[in-house]
């Protein structure tokens, strides 16, 4: 295998890890309460801007920016839950879709108003430079994002399967009334789920900001990938999002290299549709 091809695959894996990273929050919300959060991409965008503000005001990189973005977005998640989600959940499906979609536009244009339309970036050397391993270039910022993606996936998975908080959250998602009878408060569990999901998304945004451009519309570009990743992985499955993210990253990379950049989406989406034909619940989703 030529070293260029190895580089293409490595690049695809790192890209895929990032896809997985910003998809985990979306899949969590879906798994918890059957809501598709259309504002997800814009949560990523808010995370990116938080990292940018932290860097501009405090002059510090992702070490501070990532946790702060996670905290800010967790707060946003709780506010959104109590301010919007709790009420629209009582309405029809369409109200939920339009509610989060409206939220997406509100966030996007608020940032537009506050920061303007200009593209921003963090300095390229904030997270080391590029490592050269046997001729394969590994960009430190992407590597960091990839490692964190694995850790976040593992953490969320353990939280849901091994902790009492996780069990309570799953109980609420399966049957809120029954859970309530067992002494679990669905409201707080769902608020916590929103906080965790939004926090993970903010963290993802702050990490992506170290190697991507920052713009009010960036959520649009990234949001679509998140939806595909989550439905391929199986709605509600955190490990599924990781596997799906890696898969999409590699397929995109290899097809863009071999067939051409304008065809990669055709390859990815036709494989995606074929796959859903056979397995509509996704890779690891429950039937």
């Amino acid at each position: 295998m030529s070293s260029i091809l190895v580089q293409v695959i490595v690049g695809g894996l790192l890209l895929g890890a990032v896809y997985a990273l910003f998809s985990s929050g979306l899949t969590l919300i879906w798994g918890m309460m059957n809501i598709v959060n259309f504002a997800h991409g814009d949560f990523v965008m808010l995370g990116m801007y938080t990292a940018f503000v932290v860097w501009t005001l405090l002059g510090v990189g992702p070490l501070a920016g990532v946790p702060i973005a996670a905290l800010v977005l967790a707060t946003v998640g709780i506010v959104v839950y109590f301010g919007l989600i709790r009420s629209v959940m009582k309405g029809p499906m369409l109200a939920q879709i339009l509610g989060t979609f409206g939220l997406a536009l509100l966030l996007r244009y608020s940032v537009f108003w506050a920061f303007g339309a200009n593209f921003l970036t963090l300095p390229g050397d904030l997270v080391g430079g590029t490592y050269d391993v046997l001729g394969i270039k590994l960009q430190a910022s992407r590597l960091l994002a990839g490692v964190v993606a694995l850790l976040v996936t593992l953490g969320l998975h353990l939280l849901l399967t091994r902790t009492s908080l996780g069990s309570k959250m799953l109980a609420v998602s399966e049957d809120a009334t029954a859970a309530q009878l067992m002494g679990i408060r669905p409201d707080s569990m769902q608020a916590i789920a929103w906080a965790i999901a939004a926090g993970a998304t903010g963290l993802a945004g702050a990490l992506i900001a170290t190697f991507f451009y920052i713009a009010p519309t960036v959520g649009e570009t990234l949001g679509i990938v998140a939806f595909v990743t989550v439905s391929l992985g199986g709605f509600g499955s955190v490990p599924g999002a990781l596997v799906a993210g890696l898969l999409i990253g590699v397929i995109e990379s290899v097809s863009a290299y071999w067939i051409g950049g304008i065809y990669k989406d055709i390859v990815v989406y036709s494989l995606f549709l074929c796959f859903l034909w056979f397995r509509p619940q996704g890779l690891m989703g429950k039937t």
């Binding site: 260029i4 580089q7 293409v8 690049g11 695809g12 890209l15 244009y109 537009f112 303007g116 339309a117 200009n118 593209f119 921003l120 970036t121 390229g124 590029t130 050269d132 270039k137 960009q139 992407r142 190697f211 991507f212 451009y213 713009a215 009010p216 519309t217 649009e220 570009t221 990234l222 990938v225 995109e252 990379s253 290899v254 863009a256 290299y257 051409g260 950049g261 304008i262 990669k264 989406d265």
Partner: protein
């Protein structure tokens, strides 16, 4: 079927617009003293940064025309308040957001014409959107003046109401070709040329024009790499380049992609010996701020220079900076401003807001170089509506902060620097 669909959409939009104008009677008659011009730009969406700068440029032009405080040399409309030919009527611009979508741009053109009753249109930045928006203007018989879109086919449609002030892709292809020939004579390797371009109207048409102009002159394009605009990742494209090692890479990209390429080239440690960027993304001030230091030595095309202190272009730039939040007037925004001046001058000369009279005045336009802010040889439209006197030069981002003219020699401030330095 496609056409039916579009026609259906248009008539639906027309009906709703008609319904709205019934609901709001008398909106058009109250402003006899103003001339309403519609301007369509991407004020949101991925090209918003370019659109917002364009808007600031048009607002500057409107301020210059409406105050008429003079001091700007022979630039038309600057020495008296408003449009003299219309008894000092003020120019009023209605901006519309195309959201980066050809369909939205088309609807906005329809809205501006039927609802806002504009007498002429300008815009719409992306060639693909200028294409659809100007088709509506053509249908309604409203003049459409474009200052910035370079896709060749815009003026190949037999339109009677479309006028384009900017040089087009084929002009720039010839500039690139001559530039490369000149560099080759100086010992720089230029035999192996690659084109990387985004796949909407702009990127596709510019790259095909460059390819055919180069081919006619015996220089084949060795590698053609199209990619989807607004992509999330360009590693594979950069690796293709790295693998094929072209001597010259020509890039046709919008801002978001241009930034991604700059960052990815650095991450994958790829430096071609020479990069020529085809304006747009690479001329956006926010590209230079975010990625200029990663692309030192990048060549670009331009028709605008801010000029020495005291010159009209310098003074206009100072006015522009107040509206743009401090950014200098870049080539694209300056071309948009020039397009608007050409339109306003024609309306003034027509002495009327009747579309047919404005159209006739546009056809008779004959501006000299000293009446322009751009470095064109003048403005004069051919039968297709293309300015035949448009011209440009090659600039280089030598320090990663400011472009300087480097070619042709008589317009150059410094000599072109080789090889491409990157970061």
């Amino acid at each position: 079927m496609e056409f039916k669909h579009i026609a259906g959409l248009i008539s639906a939009a027309a009906i709703s617009v008609a319904a709205m104008s019934v609901a709001l009677p008398g909106t058009a008659s109250a402003q006899d003293k103003t001339v309403k011009i519609g301007v369509i730009f991407p004020l949101s969406g991925n090209a918003a940064s370019a659109g917002v700068h364009g808007k600031a440029a048009i607002e500057t032009a409107v301020e210059i025309i409406n105050t008429g405080s003079g001091g700007l040399g022979n630039l038309p409309l600057t020495n008296n308040a408003g449009l003299k030919g219309l008894g000092g009527a003020k120019v009023e611009v209605v901006f519309a957001d195309n959201q980066g979508s050809p369909a939205v741009g088309q609807n906005q053109a329809l809205r501006l014409i039927t609802e806002e009753k504009v007498v002429a249109l300008a815009g719409a930045y992306q060639s693909g959107i200028t294409l659809t928006a100007s088709a509506i203007a053509e249908k309604y018989g409203i003049p459409f003046v474009n200052g910035e879109s370079v896709a060749a086919n815009l003026t190949e449609r037999g339109f009677k109401w479309f006028f384009r002030v900017t040089p087009v892709a084929s002009d720039f292809a010839k500039i690139y070709l001559e530039f490369l020939k000149d560099m080759k004579a100086g010992g720089i390797k230029t035999d192996n040329v690659a084109i990387v371009h985004e796949n909407t109207e702009y990127g596709t048409s510019v790259s095909s024009v460059i390819t055919s102009v180069f081919k006619e002159n015996g220089l084949a394009i060795a590698l053609d790499i199209p990619y989807a605009a607004n992509t999330t990742d360009v590693q594979s494209q950069v690796l293709q380049l790295k693998d094929k090692k072209p001597d010259v890479v020509i890039m046709v990209s919008y801002t978001s992609d241009a930034i991604l390429y700059a960052k990815t080239m650095q991450a994958l440690d790829y430096k071609p010996p020479m990069i020529i960027a085809d304006n747009s993304g690479f001329s956006d001030p926010s590209f230079i701020k975010t990625a200029g230091k990663l692309t030192q030595g990048l060549f670009n095309r331009s028709s605008f220079a801010i000029g020495a202190p005291g010159t009209p272009t310098f003074l206009i730039n100072e006015m522009y900076k107040k509206k743009s939040g401090g950014d200098d007037l870049d080539d694209t925004a300056a071309r948009q401003m020039q397009g608007f001046f050409v339109l306003a001058e024609a309306i003034d000369r027509a002495g009327s807001t009747e579309p047919a009279k404005i159209q006739a005045a546009l056809k008779a336009t004959d501006l000299k170089p000293d009446q322009l802010i751009m470095g064109y040889k003048g403005v004069k439209f051919d039968d297709k509506g293309q300015n035949v006197l448009a011209a440009g030069l090659v600039i280089q981002l030598q320090d990663g902060e400011n472009y300087t003219p480097v070619w042709p020699k008589q317009l150059a401030k410094t000599a072109p620097a080789f090889p491409y330095k990157g970061w």
